[in-house]
Amino acid sequence: MSYPAPWHTIGRHALLPAAQHDERARFDVVAHLNAHVAQRLAPKVREAYESRALNAWRMRHGHEPADRHQVAEAMKQDPAYRAFSLVRRNTMEIRQHAGRMLVAREAERLSGAARAANEGAATLRLDPNLDLPRYVTAVDTHLMQGGYTSERTALDVSNAANYDAGMYATIGGSGGPWNDAAGRALVAWLKQQHPQFAPRCIVDLGCGLGHNTLPLREAFPQAEIVAVDVAAPMLRYGHARARARGFDDVQFLQADATATPLADNSADLVFTTMVLHETSRQALPKIFAEAHRLLRAGGLTIHLEQPPYRGLPAFEQFMRDWDGRFNNEPFWSALHETDCAALLARSGFGSANVFESRCTAPPAGGSTRGDEQHEDFGRAPAWYAVGAWQVAKGLAANG
């Protein structure tokens, strides 16, 4: 049994909500509840499946469940699965409510701090006329009331602050003190697999508040870095947060990842971290096509995600699908059934230039579990990566 990092070990910066005693304690309970769900309740679900639900299904149907849908059918009455789901769902609701109350108390100070940091900065470019995609505005992703784009007041940053503070509790600090494990994992992969790769321009599509953008700045100090998102509150907070941490030259740009205002052939690295599963099926190929448009010859696009379902046992697919079913991740299931490698190939890169890999975050200080390969059905600091190299445009062979 390993314990989640207590909330007070989170990296401090001027934009972080100043949580009081009970607010910190509440986040700690949430982190422990999630650890309990993953380490104690999830194994009970597997046990229940193997010891009773599977046999009951076989007796009734004469065969094993063929896919995750049949596993779900076999398990929907099971008390272990119901208890697991009730505790997990309630923990997410408690986490969201705890964060919402914290930032409501701090909303004015945070908004003021963001305004002071952002005022007149050329590195923050917002577009009030941007047509926000409905697949973003219509969903309270992972139960965050109002989603990424809503604003309670002018210049509101409260949902972004809630996301920043609460994520540390949700993942028990496994992303390191700056919640940036995916960015660090990408950097480690690049340095290990392609030590000569020296991008001059890096684009992070769907950057959110830029958690995972900043490790790229540390790794490639000479590169121009553009962090793109549709949500103004996330960008306002993220830009101010980056400045508070001493990153003054990362650009934050409000734009749709399917159609950015950036020039053709202007980037050497176009990446996403945990974005594709929050993207609609219609937008996904357009994002890949946009990466292709942006990349120069020799450039790389890479996307960190949870692994696709294909090849996984039906029971594991079913467990990994929990967020898609019960955590307001409406695109989760479809994304994990999508062959992103094939989609990249068809988006202009050509199948010969597409790859799949795995990225793992190196250990970071401040976390008691950041260096573990602890399987948490979607919340461990290791990712599936799918990507493609840009050869000279027009020469990529599709096959």
Binding site: D22, V29, L86, E93, G147, R152, R281, N328
Partner: protein, 108 residues
Amino acid sequence: MDSTDMDHSLPFDADPIQPAPAAAIGRRSESPQFTDDPMLDRLYGITMALITELAVTRTRLDTVEKLLARRQLVAGGEIEDFVPDDGEAAARSRLQAEYLDRVLRSLD
């Protein structure tokens, strides 16, 4: 995913301090029901909230004890060995009885 079923709008000017109604937390769909009885799902929700708040209270108490120990106002073991005097014990008994009367009122 069909986009036509994504219209469970939540007015975002709702008071942020108020917990969102369970059914409105996800605008995309109603809150899932995991048991055969919606009241049981609600009871789980209340129990989970109480678990959380009890843990928060225990942590706060632990903070108080640690601060008292740091400032040497309470010596190690003094809390574990604490025995109330007769007057304190009587007052505590009354508090306990009144507390149980209150929380078990629905069984009367």
